[in-house]
Symmetry: D3
Subunit: 140 residues, 6 copies
């Protein structure tokens, strides 16, 4: 299975700034889903202790989203990609800023929007040749 995963791995810059050659928008998406679910459960609960914890967890998960997105933006995508997708800087700014909005709100809407923004970034990610060698969970 490993041989399949890495068969066409080309030279790459990696999420750890080493060039490890492994990237996937899945990391940001899982944390963003956690934010959304946390918000939903916040509203379903009337337990103050749970609600306070939900706010804490949302803050941490949204920070993780920001980090994983910054890695994709600054390490995976290259000047060639930004030339090919001229809106890509803005897409990342919107999403990383949007993760801040998720921290600031208890509405589901910013978290749902964040997931759409991450999905849109993932679409670009999987259009690149580079992702074919370095991504782990391609769309089925």
């Amino acid at each position: 299975m490993l041989s399949r995963l890495f068969a066409n791995a080309t030279e790459a810059h990696a999420h750890c700034d080493l060039y490890c050659g492994v990237y996937d928008p899945a990391q940001a998406k899982i944390e963003a889903l956690s934010c959304l679910k946390t918000i939903q459960k916040y509203h379903d609960s009337d337990d103050e202790h749970f609600k306070t914890r939900a706010i804490m967890v949302k803050e941490q998960r949204a920070e993780e989203v920001k980090h994983h997105l910054m890695v994709l933006w600054a390490d995976f995508f290259t000047p060639d990609h930004f030339a090919q997708f001229p809106n890509l800087h803005q897409m990342f700014w919107d999403a990383i800023h949007g993760a801040g909005d998720v921290k600031k709100s208890l509405d589901a809407a910013p978290a749902e929007k964040l997931l759409e923004q991450i999905d849109a970034i993932a679409d670009v990610f999987w259009q690149t040749e580079k992702a074919k060698g370095m991504g782990v969970y391609p769309p089925s």
Copy 2:
């Protein structure tokens, strides 16, 4: 798309100890793949600076693997699951201990073994009903 993802989400304990209801072995796997690639690149390089950095990165990525596996073990899986899969405790101990072996070695073998161990855990994960509502990247 969100509605599909969460349509059959049942009550669940979550990776953040809130019960956020989002889990996926993808998190451990991505970090373990990073370990393996890092080891391969270590051997392909003759730059001492790169090699020192590779050891540092491997240490951090393997620690992330341990954390993500502990979360699956202690938070996602329930007593019912351990009754159904009597070897599951041992599978997790092997994998978490195996992540320590990846720290301790520059051979590819422990990292390849770790990936197999995570895949085996993912197989169990996706056999559970609970994963159907809470997992994000089911096998295609």
Copy 3:
């Protein structure tokens, strides 16, 4: 004093995954005691600011408990120990999962139970030969 501490230190796997050879259940216990005291003080207070901070502190301290227990489980104890103490996997799962329960509750009971679970693990720890060379705070 150091010579006494390390006189009978045998080859060992260590809490830092180096094999540093220093382990002690004291680390988990101190954090778990902090959880319990925090819960008690939460109930003694009627200051909302204090109570919110107590929930945050409890979350962090309980996460520290989980980490220190995982290290003991995966790094200190060996296959021989698990053969000798067949319930040891379950004891660790109960305690690490129990630290999650401490996060989820404001009752003293889960924190008291966690302390008992850590004490039971410490009993096993100090029965091993390995602990005699690597532990720091043996029972008096």
Copy 4:
């Protein structure tokens, strides 16, 4: 002194995603200077232990640079600023990616370039009205 600092503080989004209203490129700059000095000292030393530590320290300091820059980019600057300074997205990408280059190299050049990039961002920062109320170390 505080009254002077905050006299003209306007509504603002803050480095902690709260809107705390305190930002300064000084945070990124101090860490980037640490990277440069570390590289210089690496070359002045012939002690292997020191050199290994220098690589570790450089890795951590450069990661701090990335974090502080991301905060300025996503939290301080607003759509109006990006309209006014159309190159600002690119300036941030260059600098954050450049901090990755500092990790990857032992040459002083990438670290010197990073400092210039941060200074250029600071120039833009201090041209904004928002910085007058929220910045702490204005150029003298």
Copy 5:
């Protein structure tokens, strides 16, 4: 510009324990200002979600203050400095303990006092010869 900054850099112990030779009280001050502003905004708000987040942010920022002060105290200042400024130990204890008081309170007073304490430490810092080569934001 760099040549100016480092022209008279002498041998120095650095904030990263490497001797990187870069220090500045600015790091502690920026975080302390964030605490003060957070407290002010806490009182200006009647949004429970915002107020809970403000408590969390204050806790984190005050911890950062403590860390940056400890670095100045233990790494920058030397026995000669403590002989020259006999009250310096007490000034640091007051400030680091004071950062704990900021965690414990929602009043502005402890945060304002903390800023004064940091300014007093900065005054001593900039009186030293060592700071002339290692500081980044001297008083104008």
Copy 6:
């Protein structure tokens, strides 16, 4: 057992800045012992990979020592204690600075000295009434 531990717990400031009321020099000591053992194993090894990891581990463990000591100094000890033990500020400065020396050296001597410094602090700690209610591992 808990009742014994907390029977004479008086009002106290705690290691988490909450006033949780749990402190023990054991936390610093365990990490310092890890530093010493790591140094010893560094010299016993001729494996470059192991030696690089040992330097990394030493750096992290010594940083933990610094943190745990800062907590004791700033949170546990009160002005009354500093009046009673006039050398206590200096003892803490020596130990925290000494933990930096452990980072900077591969000799056992600084690590052995650090352990002695921590033991001396522990002696003072256990002489206080406050420690009787809040300490966990009193000298036997």
